[in-house]
């Protein structure tokens, strides 16, 4: 957790409650006092406004009375200005306090979400859509900010305006004041009724906007396909259809607004008019003074018209709650277990799985196992899979009873059709997923006993489609190390990955930005930067998940040379399609449907009938044809 000077720390997972309002209340911890201040200032500002009308009443009655003036005009005038300054001052303070607390609450939420997401397990990311998640973190969080900063305050303001002014009216004349609020419930009813509908229509409209953007985006990213098939008219028709839908939905929204505003405006003005008539009659009957009448005419506006917006605010508050719900769903997710304490506690008398674990006992290369979750010293790189199974969810079993052993520094190749479980297998090592059955031993210690950061620091993973960040090339290469790296070291890593020359060919060299605002790198170039990144990290265990199948021959040779340098002395797992990539491996395992169906070295496997031989022959045939 981070130490920020702008907010007190808070574990947001503990703020979750069944009732969303309670959760929001807890979310405000540390900012409640300042929020209360905001509301209090608001109340004072409203009260000053009311006092202005009371002053007006006094002024008019005093002026019209037959006696001489009790207070000179300039004092009254100064009174008006003074009250305005008080009102303005408190309005400003209220806004400032509200901003302080809402922005603070949201900063804490943003930081928390960012950190929380980094610590959610990979399995979580498999089932979410990036766009949706990003939207929750941006739009929904912003909706929540508006909830605290604008909508809640807005409702507070309207409530205060109504209450304070109504009390003032009651003081002036009870009968008149009750008469003035006669239609208020109706206004509230109409506005909530309409805005619920308007909001639904609005969401519908927004969804269509999303569809329209998606259509546009696909058209733009598929521009070559569109042109290659001359499908411009087809695309135009497709866009036209969504655009027209959008137009129709927009019109529906328009219709509702066009119904709502005149209706509510009429009700309010009609109420106001009736009140004026009533007030005038009473003034003429001598029940109230002229001053009272004039104060009343002014106050009534501030009671009746703000109510118009109450419905809108209440509906927006409720959508704010929906946004909160969407954010809370992220917070609710549990983070990765850094180290399994239960295992750590029972470490001294670890029981190997009774069925077939024992025969591994004699082959620990480093003999002993450390007794708690500690920083491992440099790993040797001995890996043992002991009857390991992995199931995603309830019934999708990805790996069945996998057992094998890798000596430190050995190179293991994995081969097999798509979906055979190769990736699942290597994903277990950095604990991207936790195996559901069996045990993985790393240097003689169960994998789950290693603390995550320490474990991952010693594993280098090169993915099929390497991900680079929109930063400079240098920053991308040093992304994995948390100490200052000299330029010489960076260049050395780049040279070893056979990418240095390419980098130097860019005008800005290592400071070149990667991504949309920088250079577009080819797949092979990205791949080599990713390798340099791993090289610099100098891990003990290396994993290549189909890292070279999509690059051209020459690049591939460069990458292979880089890999060989990288692999020396490190335990290596390599996933590949092509025989010549895997044939040098110490062990080759062929996977199919989550099981190891063949294992051995190249010489052994080409002799065995099976998938390996089949692939070998096909590739040889393509070569020799």
């Amino acid at each position: 957790m981070l130490d920020s000077p702008h907010y007190p720390p808070l574990d947001l997972q503990k703020t979750l409650a069944k009732n969303r309002l309670i959760s929001l209340w807890r979310l405000m911890a540390g900012f409640r006092l300042i929020y209360l201040l905001a509301i209090s200032c608001l109340a004072l500002a409203v009260a000053s406004k009311t006092l202005t009308y009371m002053l007006l009443r006094y002024f008019v009655d005093d002026m019209l009375s037959q006696h001489h003036l009790t207070v000179p005009f300039y004092v009254i005038a100064l009174g008006f200005v003074g009250l305005a300054i008080i009102e303005g001052g408190f309005t400003f303070l209220s806004g400032r306090f509200a901003a302080r607390s809402s922005e603070g609450i949201i900063l804490r939420l943003r930081d928390y979400l960012f950190d929380h997401l980094q610590h959610l397990p990979i399995a979580y990311y498999d089932q979410i859509k990036t766009g949706d998640l990003v939207q929750r973190c941006s739009s929904d969080v912003d909706a929540l900010r508006r909830f605290f900063a604008e909508e809640a305050i807005g409702v507070g303001r309207i409530t205060l305006l109504f209450t304070v002014n109504f009390i003032a009216l009651l003081n002036l004349n009870v009968k008149l004041s009750l008469f003035t609020v006669m239609f208020i419930p109706l206004v509230i009813f109409i506005s909530i009724f309409f805005f619920r509908k308007i909001n639904l229509a609005y969401e519908d409209h927004q969804n269509q906007e999303g569809i329209l953007s998606a259509t546009l985006q696909e058209n733009l990213s598929g521009v070559r396909v569109v042109k290659a098939f001359s499908r411009q008219p087809f695309e135009m028709a497709k866009f036209e259809q969504e655009n027209w839908q959008q137009y129709l939905k927009g019109r529906r929204l328009v219709k509702m607004h066009a119904m709502y505003w005149p209706t509510v405006e009429f009700t309010c003005l009609f109420q106001y008019l009736l009140s004026i008539f009533m007030g005038a009659t009473m003034a003429m009957n001598g029940e109230i003074t002229i001053g009272t009448y004039m104060a009343f005419v002014g106050l009534a506006i501030w009671i009746i018209f703000p109510i118009q917006n109450l419905g809108r605010l209440i509906v927006q508050l409720s959508t704010g709650l929906v946004s909160y719900q969407r954010v809370a769903e992220i917070i609710k997710e549990n983070r990765e277990v850094v180290a399994h304490d239960d295992l750590a506690l029972s470490n001294d008398n670890l029981l190997l799985p009774a069925t077939n674990g024992h025969h591994y006992n004699g082959i620990y290369t480093n003999g002993h196992s450390s007794s708690s979750v500690t920083n491992p010293t440099l790993l040797q790189g001995e890996v043992i899979f002991d009857n390991v199974s992995l199931a995603y969810g309830m019934d999708a079993v990805a790996l069945h009873h996998i057992s094998f052993m890798v000596k430190p520094g050995q190179k293991v190749a994995l081969l097999g059709p798509t979906g055979s479980g190769k990736s699942s297998l290597v994903n277990l090592l950095p604990r991207f997923y936790d195996y559901t059955h069996g045990q993985i031993w790393l240097d003689g210690k169960p994998l789950k006993q290693y603390a995550l950061p320490e474990l991952r620091q010693q594993i280098g993973f090169v993915e099929q489609e390497p991900f680079l960040f929109s930063r400079t090339i240098r920053e991308n290469i040093t992304y994995g190390v948390n100490y200052k790296v000299s330029d010489a070291e960076v260049e050395q890593a780049a040279q070893a990955a056979a990418i240095h020359d390419v980098i130097m060919s860019f005008p800005e060299g290592y400071s070149t930005l990667v991504g949309e605002r920088g250079v577009t790198l080819s797949g092979g170039q990205k791949q080599r930067i990713a390798i340099a990144r791993v090289l610099l990290k100098s891990p003990r265990i290396l994993i290549f998940d189909d890292a070279v199948s999509a690059v051209d021959t020459e690049t591939e040779q460069l990458i292979h040379a880089a890999l060989e340098r990288l692999q020396r002395g490190r335990t290596t797992f390599i996933i590949a399609h092509r025989i010549q990539t895997v044939m040098q491996a110490d062990q080759i395992m062929v996977l199919d449907k989550g099981r190891i169906v063949q294992r051995g070295n190249h010489a052994e496997l080409v002799q065995q009938p099976g998938i390996y031989q089949q692939i070998y022959q096909l590739q040889a045939q393509l070569t020799n044809e």
Binding site: H6, I106, C137, G210, W261, L269, M583
Partner: protein
């Protein structure tokens, strides 16, 4: 009363898509030409425009009139005890009320519909214009930029011509009517107000500018924050694998804190706006009470008149606020308009020549005659490139990245045209033919295949829109996509997801091969079409491709030499030239570049 501005904010919340992209700089000076062009967009709907402006003007005048009626009720009714007059005035007020709400209904309906209409028109225009632009435009313009133009700038423009106009008209008419009534009531007091009005407007404009600049800053930061989330979520595996969590959080907090500070500043600046305008207004009120009270005592002004002045002054804030907001937002809208018009003004670099004729069905002879091409003038990609391909030949292009292979196929498909020299199809300069007639006879399969969201069937059908289901299946069988498709839960009706994301790259490649098969083109281009297909499938697909290539002129780019060795002619392209040319056997014998590539790949 001034609910209209609030209404706008509800109609026009920013859409999610444009959060991803940074806000652009905007021009500070008003560009009359751009404004005129914006209003030209409303030309077909001018009647609507004038009607709703007349309606909102009526509403504004009535708003000010109601206050005057209140004055009359006090002066001519209550003060003199004339009940009949009160009843008369209340009846007048009531009947004007009906006019008032009818006008409100009318202008909201007309203006908001016009807004939707303009938005619809602009989006259609931009989208359709985009379809005609050349590939070079898309190469140099990020998709995000174009997206923002079509989705959000169109909204901003439609808002300017509707709500911008409404707020301005209302504000101006309301102020004018109010001042007129004030002059009628007491011209000396009205002069005091008239003097203070420019000050009020000045302060309001100044503040709105500052506030808007601050909010723009917040939006910029917001898109950065969103970008951070996006990147950390997409790159989560790397973040975890490299244990960067701590440092990333630190960096993010720095950014989020900057946004916090900026957001806080913007919020309190906004909170300062109303009070400061109000206080200046209150000073005017004070002088009116002082001077007016004295005048009432002297008998030169009525109590009702005083009441009217106070009301006018109190509510003068709203039109001024509206004016300041529209003024501040107009700069944004003009900038939006400049950008959207720049898109609409972009010329397609490759268009049909005036005398272009549709091509007949190609025999398939293609000739490059001393072709020169470059993307940037300093850096020539092809120089003096000549090549003749006879109908039905398969040409394989081999060579290093950046050597010019993709440029050659881009020229064949006329995504680009030669800068010098001629390309002839069946002996005819292809610039004399219409684009559509050429491109409808060419099909491409690309390394990064692009699918559209929808079902697999719809995606294959993209190659031939009127294809029957049987034809689609037949094409899928040729491409060996059929096998995996029927394994899927919904078979051909399986949704492929946005951009085809639910399928693997290999599967997407097979589907795009099927799409090309269905298109039955005369000229076929395979650009790394099978790089991500596994070995077993690739062997099967090869047979399908052989059948497809038969009888068609085709260009094949591949890294796997095994897939191209059966080409009729192999061209090794390096530095924009043909370094070697011949068939596999010939090139192997000449022991040149191809030979070393080939032996390297299969060194074992």
């Amino acid at each position: 009363m001034s609910g209209f501005s609030l209404l706008i904010s509800h109609l026009s919340l920013p859409t999610m898509t444009n959060n991803y992209f940074e806000e652009e700089e905007f021009t500070t000076q008003f560009n009359g030409k751009v404004l005129k062009r914006i209003f030209d967009q409303t030309k077909p709907y001018r009647k609507n425009l004038y009607t709703f402006m007349a309606l909102i003007a009526t509403v504004a005048m009535l708003d000010a009139t109601f206050t005057y009626i209140n004055k009359l009720i006090i002066d001519e009714g209550i003060m003199v005890g004339n009940r009949e007059r009160v009843l008369q005035l209340v009846t007048l007020y009531g009947s004007l009320l009906f006019v008032h709400i009818s006008c409100i209904f009318g202008f909201i309906y007309l203006a908001a519909n016009l807004g939707e209409q303009i938005q619809y028109d602009l989006r259609r225009q931009t989208f359709n214009h985009l379809q005609g632009l050349s590939l070079s435009y898309f190469d140099r313009t990020p998709i995000g930029w174009i997206m923002s133009r079509v989705t959000s700038d169109s909204v901003k423009i439609s808002e300017l011509v509707t709500w911008g106009l409404i707020d301005t008209t209302w504000a101006v008419m309301n102020l004018t009517t109010a001042i007129t009534f004030m002059l009628i009531i007491n011209w000396k007091l009205a002069l005091i107000v008239a003097l203070i009005l420019p000050v009020l407007i000045g302060i309001a404009f100044y503040f709105k500018q500052k506030i808007l600049a601050e909010f723009r800053q917040v939006r910029k930061l917001n898109s950065k924050v969103t970008g951070s989330y996006n990147e950390n979520i997409t790159g989560v595996r790397v973040v975890k694998a490299l244990t960067r969590e701590g440092q990333n959080l630190g960096e993010f907090d720095e950014l989020a804190t900057t946004m916090y500070q900026s957001g806080y500043r913007a919020a309190w600046l906004a909170a300062l706006f109303l009070p400061s305008v109000q206080i200046v207004g209150a000073m005017a009120l004070g002088s009116i009470v002082w001077y007016g009270g004295w005048q009432v005592q002297m008998g030169s002004m009525t109590v009702g008149g005083l009441q009217a002045f106070i009301t006018y002054l109190t509510f003068m804030l709203f039109p001024i606020q509206d004016l300041a907001r529209v003024y501040a937002q107009m700069q944004n809208s003009v900038a939006s308009a400049e950008r959207i018009f720049s898109l609409l003004d972009a010329q397609a670099e490759i268009t049909d020549r005036p005398n272009a004729v549709p091509a007949a069905t190609f025999q398939g002879e293609i000739e490059f005659d001393q072709v020169e091409f470059y993307y940037k003038k300093e850096k020539s990609v092809l120089t003096d490139f000549s090549l003749k391909v006879t109908p039905g030949q398969t040409i394989a292009l081999v060579g290093p990245t950046g050597g010019g292979k993709s440029t050659i196929v881009n020229l064949v498909s006329r995504f680009y045209e030669p800068k010098h020299g001629v390309i002839r199809f069946d002996g005819m300069d292809y610039t004399q033919l219409t684009l559509a007639s050429i491109q409808s006879q060419i099909a491409m399969v690309l390394q990064t295949p692009h699918l559209f969201s929808g079902t697999i069937r719809e995606n294959i059908r993209y190659g031939k829109l009127d294809a029957t289901d049987e034809e689609i299946e037949a094409a899928a069988k040729v491409a060996h996509a059929h096998e995996f498709i029927i394994e899927l839960e919904h078979g051909y009706n399986e949704e492929v997801g946005e951009g085809g994301n639910l399928l693997s790259t290999g599967q997407k490649q097979l589907i795009s091969v099927a799409r090309a098969v269905l298109a039955n083109p005369r000229i076929l281009i395979l650009d790394e079409a099978t790089s991500s297909v596994d070995t077993l499938t690739e062997a099967l697909l090869q047979q399908g491709l052989d059948a497809l290539l038969e009888g068609r002129t085709s260009f094949v780019i591949a890294h796997r030499l095994s897939t191209i060795k059966r080409a009729d002619r192999i061209l090794v392209i390096a530095n924009g030239h043909i370094a070697e040319m011949g068939n596999h056997t010939e090139l192997m014998e000449s022991k040149g570049h191809y030979y070393s590539l080939y032996t390297n790949q299969f060194r074992n």
